[in-house]
């Protein structure tokens, strides 16, 4: 068996398609917090979205208790929306946060505050990353997360409005993306500076909502620019069945793509041809939430054999996910390649 290496080296090697260590890395580009994990740590939502020490400690449980090779402290997808002025419902231990208002219907309404990174919902993430860096930075991969301009636009204007504009007012969509991409750049760069090894860029132009053409027309040029300007390693997260646009993600220049179970892993590996790493794609709804550890084991081994570079749940796990199923991911990966 290959030499045992630290979680951080394992994760980074997987991200860059490098030397294989002792076993496949297990990472979490999106939240792996569940109610059971909250009970085990005594740290609960919504406080863990708002207070840096609690955010860091709950995130670290993903490594300490579940055995993942990465720690990712941003659990919600709403930190940017809150910083930009959407009214928030921060949820509860059984509910993720959601923006309650989408007040920005015109480009003129959008403005990026000068002290953006000082806004509490962003500052908390930067501080949590900093805490984690100091405590775990030597051996565990520290993962940050930012929303791309497409996702932030959903929150600003309402998803349905924004999607309709893609046909009725394409110029408006372009201008929203132009303005809001600056939020993504600023927050991502700050996360690297705060201590992230890699940042997940989530931009929900999902395979179930928009066509590959829409991605190509509106987002591909923006994503290319983001990759260049941010500078640090990025994992793209877009949910849904994106099998028809994987090459576009390669073209954008991302280091990794975090993908869902409904995208066939073997085909994805073939299409991507090692030009980008694949992170995923253990099924949430059927396997992790409602399956047994044996079901999880089978899926993990399938993904490893298919050539997925970093094994991870396909998306933020449901809050009722049993801890034993999350541990089963790591246990299955420990069998090696």
């Amino acid at each position: 068996m290959a030499q045992k290496i630290s979680p951080k080296r394992r994760f980074l090697s997987g991200l860059f398609g490098g030397r294989k260590g002792d076993r496949p890395p297990v990472g979490n580009p999106t939240s792996i917090v569940s109610q059971e994990l909250m009970e085990k740590t005594g740290i609960y939502f919504p406080q863990a979205h708002l207070e840096p020490k609690q955010m860091a400690e709950l995130a670290a449980a993903g490594h300490e208790i579940l055995g993942f090779d990465s720690i990712m402290p941003e659990f919600s997808v709403q930190q940017e929306a809150a910083a930009l002025g959407c009214e928030m419902d921060w949820g509860s231990p059984s509910m993720m946060p959601d923006a309650r208002t989408h007040p920005f219907q015109r480009v003129e309404d959008l403005s990026i505050p000068e002290n953006l990174l000082e806004k509490p919902s962003l500052k908390v993430v930067l501080e949590a990353l900093n805490i984690l860096r100091r405590q775990y930075g030597h051996e565990v991969a520290i993962v940050g997360k930012v929303m791309g301009p497409w996702t932030i636009s959903y929150h600003m204007a309402g998803t349905q409005n924004f999607l309709l504009w893609a046909i009725t007012e394409p110029d408006k969509v372009r201008r929203f993306l132009e303005v809001l991409k600056e939020v993504t750049v600023l927050f991502a760069q700050a996360q690297f500076q705060a201590g992230a090894d890699v940042v997940v860029l989530a931009d929900h132009a999902t395979g179930d909502l928009v066509s590959p053409k829409t991605y190509e027309k509106f987002l591909l040029p923006v994503h290319k620019e983001l990759v260049q300007r941010i500078g640090g390693p990025l994992i793209l997260h877009i949910c849904g069945n994106c099998a028809d646009r994987l090459r576009m993600f390669v073209e954008a220049g991302f280091d990794g793509y975090h993908f869902e179970w409904q995208v066939a892993a073997r085909e994805a590996v073939q299409v991507i041809n090692r030009e980008m790493s694949l992170v995923g794609n253990i099924n949430n709804a059927t396997t992790l939430l409602r399956g047994t550890p044996e079901d999880v084991y089978k899926q993990v081994r399938y993904s490893v054999k298919a050539g997925v570079d970093i094994i991870a749940p396909e998306c933020a796990v449901p809050l009722q996910t049993p801890v034993r199923n999350l541990r089963a991911i790591v246990e299955a990966a420990q069998e090696g390649f």
Partner: protein, 213 residues
């Protein structure tokens, strides 16, 4: 003769001009409102629905078509009250408690309305009791539940139980859908039907309505 393809084409236009023109022309030619609705708008929407199912069209296209369809129906409305309409069935739609996502539900609503069903949309974050209350208030034949999140999907079980356990003599069928929902899950929680997408949802409803009659 009304051509569904003509209606399909104007449903996809960005402006209201073409749909208004086509509907008014059909009226002028002497077609009745139900005829224009069924053989024109609904037939056109059905072509669009099939293309959506086949991933040739996407959510923005359907949202646009819905906007146009509403405009077309508005023009026909005054004629309906004169001639008398009559829907194929009544369905209550809502997103379950804890979930504020409504696009999936809205697509289903669009497709159902587009198929001649009367849709009562009770919105998002709807508690089980509110779904049950609609049985008396609206007497729907079917109640449709939506959830986007794996977390809130589990709430569907409570709603199904509340409806099935309610004291009404005639209980509506319950159908479920949404990204994380599967056929197996629908069966497990005792739902009467499941559709993987909005168009299949309409097919499920039509089948259930046949059973009831």
């Amino acid at each position: 003769m009304l051509k569904p393809e003509d209606f399909y084409r104007v449903l996809r236009e960005v402006d209201f001009g073409p749909i208004e023109e086509l509907v008014k022309k059909a009226v002028a030619e002497g077609h009745s409102a139900p005829q224009i609705l069924n053989e024109g708008l609904i037939a056109g929407m059905s072509i669009l629905g099939q293309e959506f199912k086949a991933r040739e069209l996407w959510v923005p296209d359907v949202l646009l078509a819905a906007r146009n369809m509403h405009r077309g129906i508005e023009i026909l409305k005054p004629m309906f009250s004169k001639e008398g309409g009559g829907s194929k069935g009544k369905i209550v739609l809502g997103t379950v408690k804890g979930d504020i996502h409504d696009i999936g539900k809205n697509l289903v609503s669009i497709m159902m309305t587009g198929s001649g069903l009367e849709v009562i949309d009770v919105g998002v974050d709807v508690p089980a009791e509110k779904f049950v209350a609609t049985i008396q208030e609206h007497q729907p034949q079917i109640i449709g539940l939506s959830a986007l999140l794996t977390t809130t999907m589990l709430e569907m079980r409570n709603v199904v139980e509340a409806i099935k356990g309610s004291s009404y003599d005639v209980k509506p069928y319950v159908i479920v859908g949404g990204a994380p929902v599967t056929e197996a899950f629908a069966q497990e929680i005792g739902a009467d039907g499941y559709g993987p997408d909005a168009v299949s949802g309409v097919e499920v409803v039509m089948k259930l309505l046949k059973n009831r009659v």
